[in-house]
Structure formats: C-alpha cells, structure tokens
C-alpha cells in the first residue's frame, strides 16, 4: 500500500466527508497562524536502528504501521485488542502491545521488533534458545514471546516487582514463577509454555 495514497485519500475525506463538515466547524477556534490538526500526518520512527518517516492516517496503530506500511510482518496481529501479546515490540526499550497504541503517538520513538533482534543467520540469544528448546509450535505468537522475554529479563534486572514477588522491598529473582507470571501477557494457544520457559531460563542463566 503506497503511503502517499493513504495521505491523499484521507485529505479528501477531511474535505468532503459529511461527518467532517461538522468537525471543521468545530475546529473554528484555531487561529489563522496555527494550522488545525489533521487526520493524517508525518510520523518519524527509528525502527530497528533505521530512521523511517511515514505518512499515516492518524488511526494507524503502531502494529499496522509496522506490518502494513513498513512490511515488517514479524510482529503479529493476534487480537488487535491487547488480549494476546502477539504484537509485543519494544519502544524505547520497554515492551508494549503495539496494537493498542497509535503510530502517531510515537513520533521520535525507537522501536525494536523481532526483525531487529536477529536474523536466521545471526540470531539473538533468545531466538536461538527458542529454536533449541522448541519454544513454539505454529510460530504465530513467537515473535511477541521473544520480544517480551528479552524486555522482561531487563525488567527483572531493573528490580521491578511482579505479582509473585514475595517481598516487595527486595530485589526479585528470575525464578520460574517470576518468569511465568511476567510472560503471562503472551498467550501461546499451541501451549509451548514449558519449552518457552526453558529457553528463557537458559538465556537468563547465561546473562547472570
């Protein structure tokens, strides 16, 4: 989908859409020197180290910006409602559900997707561990699991507590219970859970 087409179409919508007419009236409060807000616009993202500028409909989720506009399809759409975790990416180092955020809200942000972690020829340690421990079946939740796992270990290292942390004032340990609780936002219906746990545990052990 060429992004300039999106831009043009949406501009037209702003001008001729019947719902828009009322809205334009509502925008009357903007002074002549400040342009009224638009229904689409330019978004600058650094994705996997590469700076990208996209012309996007405001409604475009970060997930769809990645998948449909940058064709980085490693990040998956499982539910589009924050209920499965398949769309997990890292933004400025933190894992989030890319389906429940708008790309336009991330102007200037750094995004790391599964493609940015490693490649088949040069995999990230977590990717290699998932292969070694068979931490997947159909593979659809896998990129989200891996991105989540990488960021999750950072969260433990940073001392963030979880639901199963016994003592809130002590540093959490990367126990099995901690890893399972913290990975619960990534559903695997094939249920390779024990193998995913084994993969993460191995990577965690190598980090420690």
């Amino acid at each position: 989908m060429p992004t300039n087409l999106t831009f043009d179409v949406s501009r037209r919508e702003l001008l001729i859409g019947s719902a828009s007419a009322a809205l334009i009236a509502g925008l009357g409060g903007w002074s002549a020197d400040a342009a009224p807000p638009q229904r689409d616009g330019s978004v600058r993202l650094t994705v996997n180290g590469e700076e990208r500028t996209l012309e996007l409909d405001n409604r475009t989720s970060l997930l769809d910006a990645l998948r449909e506009h940058m064709h980085l399809t490693g990040t998956k759409k499982g539910c589009d409602h924050g209920q499965c975790g398949a769309c997990t990416v890292m933004v400025n180092g933190e894992r989030i559900n890319s389906c429940l955020t708008l790309a336009v809200m991330h102007d200037g942000d750094e995004v790391t997707t599964i493609e940015g972690l490693g490649t088949p020829d040069d995999p990230h340690a977590m990717q290699a561990a998932f292969v070694k421990h068979d931490g997947y079946q159909c593979g659809y939740c896998t990129p989200g699991q891996i991105c989540s796992a990488v960021a999750m270990l950072d969260e433990i290292e940073a001392g963030m507590p979880s639901h199963v942390t016994p003592d809130l004032t002590a540093r959490p340990q990367a126990s099995e219970a901690e890893i399972k609780e913290r990975m619960s936002g990534n559903i695997c219906r094939c249920a390779a859970y024990p193998n995913i746990l084994a993969a993460i545990t191995e990577v965690e052990g190598a980090r420690a």
């Binding site: 989908m1 087409l5 999106t6 179409v9 949406s10 037209r12 919508e13 859409g17 409909d57 409604r59 475009t60 769809d64 449909e68 980085l72 399809t73 490693g74 990040t75 998956k76 759409k77 499982g78 539910c79 589009d80 409602h81 499965c84 398949a86 997707t113 599964i114 493609e115 972690l117 490693g118 490649t119 088949p120 995999p123 990717q127 998932f130 292969v131 068979d134 997947y136 079946q137 159909c138 593979g139 659809y140 939740c141 896998t142 990129p143 891996i146 890893i179 399972k180 609780e181 990975m183 619960s184 695997c188 219906r189 094939c190 249920a191 390779a192 859970y193 024990p194 193998n195 995913i196």
Partner: protein, 726 residues
C-alpha cells in the same frame, strides 16, 4: 504405493535422523519473524486493498434492508460486498452455514458484508456505516432445552453389543451420571486470513488453511470455478486445531471482493468476530452408565451423547472415547443431534474423543471410588487387547504400560485413596489419572521428492504445518530414506500446486504425510540406483552416497531426478484396530478459601509406536495437555439464549491458559514400533495429549476436595457451596 502390513525392514529402521530429538527446520524463520503467514504476502501484488467483514447483528432471521450508501461514499472505499452483488456463493460439503448471509441469516456474526477499501482503517470505518435491518426469527440455542428433540443423525446409528439393558440393571455396582461440556473455541493465535488475487481468470489464495486440497475444492465450488483455476497457498499457519480445516468467510469474501474491485484483497477476521463467525466445538450432554461386579469387572458400559448443530450439521461423537476403551460384554453407544441456531459446530482438536474422554474417564474415577479401588487398578482389570465392539486386536495397545511407567515416575503411590485428606498450606491437594485414547487414522498422501544436481534434496507436498512439526518430520523422512543430512533437505509445504497430501487433521497428518514422502523416496532411490547403474534392491543410501555390490557413488553422480509418490492404506485391511494410547497424571491444589484451582504437576506417558521427532511430538502432547487444562478449568463459550450468540467473544472473556497456569509438564513416550500402522512403524500424537487431561484434572479435584463437579469447566462457583467452611 499401497502400504502392506506389516511393514518389513526398511530404510527408516536405521533411525539416524528419524526418531532423534530434532530442532525444527522452520525454527529460524519462525523465531526471526521471517516465516510468512497468509495476511503477510505483501509482495504478491503492488496494489493490495483491504477487506473488513461486518457480522450479522442477529442470530436468526432475514435481512430486510441494507444501506451501504454511506459506506460506499466513505473515504477510500472501493466497493461493498453483500449478497446482492456477490453472485451465487455455493456451500461445499465442507460447510454447513453459508459463508455470506443474505437474505437469510443463520447465525450471529455471520458475514453480511465486506467493505473493500484502500486501507485497513478506511475499510473498518466504512463497515460501521453499513445499516442493516433485520426481521428476527425465533431460534433454538440451548442444548438442554432441545435435548428431547434430538434424533440419531444419519451415519451415526447406535452401537450395541450384548444385552446392555439387562446387564446394567443387574450389575451389583453402578455409576449412572450425566456430565456436560460447554462449547469451546479453537482460539488459535492467528485469526483466519486470506489474500485473494485474480489473474486471467485464475484465482490464487494465500489463506490460513489446514487442508489445502479441500480448501481449493471448496473455493471452486463456492465460486462456481473449475478447481484447476484455483490455487491455494499456505506455507505457515498460525494454529488451527480444526478451526482451519475448512474455508471460512475470509477466503470466499476476499475472492469476491477482489473480483468486484479488480484489486487483490487481503482480509483477516477481527478477533471479536472469530468466535461467532467461524466454528466451535459443540457443547454436549453426556450420560455415562457403568455396571460392574464387586471386584471391578465391568459388565455394562453405556455412553449417550447429545449435541446440537445447525440443520445439516454433524454431531459431536463423544462416545468414540468409550467404544474402544474398556472391556465389557454389554455396551451401548448413542449419539443424538438437536437442531440449534448457534454458529456452526465443527471439529476441534480430537473431536468426539476430547469431550468424550472428559466424561468416561471421570466416570471411571467415580466407579473406582465407589468400589474402593485404585483408579489405575480399575483400568487394569478392564484393559483389553481387542476392540470391545469388533473383537479385532488393536495393532498396538500399551495402555497399562503407560500407567505403570507413569505411576512410578509420578509417585502415584503417595495419593490418598480417601479424598479431601491432603492439605498443604492454604490448598487441598489431590492427584488424578485418566486414560488417553485416540484413533490413529490414515489418509492417502502424496509427495514429490527431487534430488538436485548438487546432491541436496527437495520435498514438495501440499501438507501443512500448523505447528505440528510437519516441515521437520518430512525432512527427517527424506534425509533418512536418502542417506543425506537433514541440512541437505529443503521442504516446501502448503501449496495446491504440490502433490495432494493427507493434510493436517484428525491426528492422521504425521503418519500419512511421512508415509507419502517415504513412498516418493522409495521411487527416487530406485531412480538414483538406476542412474548410477547399481541394483536398486541391494543399494544402501548413507552419507550422501549410494552403494551396492562394493561400488559407491556420490548422489551428485545420479544427476537431477524427481519422483512423485503416493501412499494408500488399503493394505492395512480390516483385521486390526488402530489407536494411540497414553496415561495422564495430574497433581493440583484447590484453595481452601476461594476454591481457585492451580495445577502443580502434569505427566503424560504416551505410546504410538515410533515417534518421528520426539522434540515436536512432546511439544504437541504438552499443548494438548494445556488445552485440556483449559477445557477442565477455564474454557466455556457462554450461550446467551435471548440473543442466540456466544456472549464472551474475545480473548479477554474467553480465557485460555496463560504461562502462569501451566506447571511442570513431563511427556514420556514408550519405546517400540507399530509395523501394522504404517511404513513409518508409528502414528501421530497431535491429539492424544488432549484426550484425558481434563478428566485427570477433574479426578484430582475430587481427590483434593471430595467434590465431584460434572459440569465443565470446574470453576470456583461450582465448588464453593460444597467446600468446607474456613
């Protein structure tokens, strides 16, 4: 080739590659985001348009008006597909509910329209502008209400052995219990999705589908096309569990939308639509009757099952779990089907056997308790090496070996015979067991195997890998047969241009598709031997070389060769019964205050003859155990009979197990082979894992609390009224 049993010595006996725990060859692609799923073929055409499906707002009735004017005028919209402009959409034999409604609506969220627009955002927005008027019709939605109207469906005659009624009436010890299981959602992580592209009257669909040939044929039927005009491609499928056995609205509407707009169209079902738009495992009511002697010998077994479906739909075959299970001279199996106006019920992982095992295996536990017997002992007393109905021997049945191995590993002897006796902190602790029994069917399956000039091997078949590990076991099969390392084998799957395979379903995929590759490789071995001039019957293939009679040639010396082979299984004959077996062990805790159930340990000991890749086979069994845990404790599509729909239609409300729910899981396979089953001397295990674990959990809950819940899922409100006060 026609498989002739028993399989004699053959090259798979070497087990250098087959049978070895092997990381998946598709693993690097899946872990790096480079495996391409249906919706992601963005490069196949430069001008992909987006479809967005609107589901019906009523469960049953008629569309009286449909105003698409606002949607058509909405920004970016190319067209709106409805029954008025779609042309005829025929249902193939694989579908019960029409994939496009109009003017009749036969279930909630049935597709009534699809907007095609330049962008996803525009298509979604426009779909909300479509105004549909309905005349609602009364429908039937509750199985319990319609139970008495149920009849025996065609092809599902009762099976009777001996004199069941008299034997049950006279049995000294009886269990007569009725269980219910609710409707379940497949809830695979990838929603149904398709890209459709027309070129010169030929239609190509990149579609998430488990059964490529069925899918191709169904699309051809739906659109009135010659099947030769349809190509379906599905190299990676984000889970199916039966939910992608047959085409759904995405495939047909993408094709129609592309035809109407002259643009390739991509469409994925939005998650809240999936639950009511597609298919589900139907709810059941099951009555189990067990009559036994004082010493535990079963005299009578009855399994009656009621389920519902749309007119013309199939019944859930729960008694399938009981029929091969335990010896008893007098038997009854009854399947009855009521007409319901819910969405279409269809196959979900181990159809029949999964819900059937949830009841027969719990009822056996009830009988054991009644008799004061260890539940494993009760199974031992009633084990049988012949099918209790047909009297034919099982090709292989090591059920009690599985129990013995499991009991020893799990520490079963520590289980309290008396329920409600073991307390650990805030939890009542219990253990449970159940048998796993699942048919081992086979299907005709073909493959094309090529030796390339560089000595590498290419396997092509329309077989799918829905997470099952097909890529790897087919690669292992070719590597073993041709004596090359697995790294030298490339496997291409899921394309209707490839030879027709068994596809992924019914636990037949692994056995059948590897046997198809075996057949093709056998032919290729002959061709290679002929090419280098050695006796094919004496030739051995190892280390990238073919040798015979003291001569050895590098495979590259044979040149490029291709063979297409096919296996058929008529030679299995009808003297044997083919099943896979296992035993599930569960330990869990029930919170004494809140009745929350938390699993502590799970173990499955399984047997299916040779296991082709223990790594992926274990994963499959674990996956079944977890899906079984979901069925036992969490999963229920809640029917709202006023509106005729599944009310909890998203992944926040339909809860499937998460990481934190799943404890240590161990899977053990018995050693051995089943030369009667296939040339591979083994069977698949993709569904064995979900047969039994739910009942083992229910039995462990009883052991922990003394409370028997017969309405799945076992949630806290069903335990609380009978929990001891705190």
């Amino acid at each position: 080739m026609q498989f002739q049993k028993p399989a004699g010595p053959n090259p798979t006996d070497r087990q250098r590659v087959l049978g070895k725990p092997t990381p998946r060859i598709d693993g690097p692609a899946k872990t790096t985001g480079t495996a391409t799923y249906a919706y992601e073929f963005n490069d196949v055409a430069p001008n992909l348009a987006y479809g967005y499906i609107l589901g019906a707002g009523v469960a049953k009735g008629r569309i009286t008006s449909m105003d698409v004017a606002a949607a058509k005028k909405s920004a970016g919209v190319l067209d709106v597909v409805t029954y008025k402009n779609a042309g005829e959409v025929k249902n193939s034999d694989f579908n019960t509910a029409p994939l496009l409604a109009g003017p009749d609506v036969t279930h909630y969220h049935q597709a009534v329209a699809m907007v095609v627009a330049e962008t996803f955002e525009q298509a979604r927005a426009a779909a909300s502008l479509i105004k549909v008027g309905y005349q609602k019709a009364d429908g039937a939605y509750e199985l319990a209400e319609r139970k008495d109207s149920a009849s025996v469906p065609k092809d599902d005659a009762d099976t009777r052995t001996g004199d069941y009624e008299t034997a049950f009436a006279n049995a000294p010890v009886k269990v007569d219990v009725t269980y219910t299981t609710p409707a379940h959602a497949h809830a695979m992580m990838e929603p149904h999705a398709t890209i459709a592209l027309w070129e010169d009257g030929n239609l190509t669909l990149w579609s998430a589908n488990q059964m490529i040939e069925w899918g191709k044929q169904s699309v051809a039927t739906a659109l009135g096309l010659d099947p030769s005009k349809v190509r379906m491609i599905s190299p990676y499928i984000g889970g199916g569990f039966g939910g992608k056995l047959f085409i759904r609205a995405d495939a047909v509407l993408a094709a129609i939308g592309a035809r109407l707009t002259g643009r390739p169209v991509k469409v994925a079902l939005q998650r809240p639509l999936v639950f009511n738009n597609t298919v589900h495992r139907p709810a059941t009511i099951q009555r189990i009757t067990l009559g036994a002697g004082e010493e535990g010998k079963l005299l009578a077994i009855g399994h009656e099952n009621w389920s519902g479906n749309l007119e013309g739909g199939d019944a859930e075959q729960s008694p399938a779990a009981t029929r091969p299970s335990y010896a008893a001279a007098n038997r009854l199996a009854v399947t009855k089907l009521a007409v319901l106006d819910l969405p279409e019920g269809n196959a979900m992982r181990a159809p029949g056997d999964a819900p059937g095992s949830m009841t027969i295996e719990a009822a056996m536990d009830e009988l054991a308790h009644e008799l004061g017997l260890d539940p494993i002992e009760l199974r031992a007393i009633n084990d049988t090496q012949v099918h209790p109905e047909s009297g034919k021997p099982f090709s292989r049945r090591k059920l009690m070996d599985c129990y013995r191995e499991g009991a020893s590993r799990f520490g079963w002897s520590k289980r309290s015979m008396e329920p409600g006796k073991v307390r650990d902190g805030d939890e009542w602790v219990g253990m449970g067991v159940a048998s796993a029994i699942r048919g081992a069917p086979v299907m005709t399956s073909a493959a094309r195997v090529s030796l390339r000039g560089d000595g590498s091997v290419l396997v092509e078949t329309d077989m799918t890998d829905i997470g099952t590990g097909s890529y790897t076991i087919l690669g292992q099969t070719a590597a073993e047969m041709l004596g090359v390392p697995l790294e030298r084998v490339e496997v291409r799957l899921g394309d209707s241009n490839f030879p027709v395979s068994a596809g992924s379903g019914g636990q037949w995929g692994a056995t059948s598709s590897t046997s198809g590759v075996y057949a093709a490789c056998n032919q290729l071995r002959t061709a290679i031997a002929n090419a280098v001039g050695v006796d094919a019957n004496a030739a051995t293939f190892a280390d990238g070389r073919v040798s015979a009679g003291g001569e050895a040639f590098d495979l590259t010396e044979a040149g490029a060769l291709t063979e297409t082979g096919e296996v058929t299984f008529g030679g299995r004959g009808d003297e044997h019964e083919y099943f896979t077996f296992g035993a599930h062990f569960v330990e869990l805790g029930v919170n004494a205050y809140t009745a929350e159930i938390r699993l502590r340990r799970m173990l499955a000991v399984c047997d299916a003859g040779r296991i082709f890749n223990p790594t992926s086979a274990k994963n499959q069994v674990m996956g079944g155990m977890t899906m079984g845990a979901g069925a036992a404790l969490l999963e229920e599509l809640v029917v709202d009979p006023r509106y005729g729909f599944f009310a909890n239609h998203d992944l926040a409300q339909y809860e499937v197990p998460v990481h934190a729910d799943i404890p240590q899981q161990e899977v053990i396979f018995l050693d051995g082979e089943d030369p009667l089953a296939s040339p591979m001397k083994g069977s698949g295990v993709g569904e064995l894992g979900i047969c039994g674990p739910s009942a083992a959990i229910a039995n462990a809950v009883f052991n922990a609390t003394g409370i028997r819940v017969r309405d799945y899922p076992i949630t806290m409100e069903k335990l609380l009224p009978r929990m001891p006060t705190v």
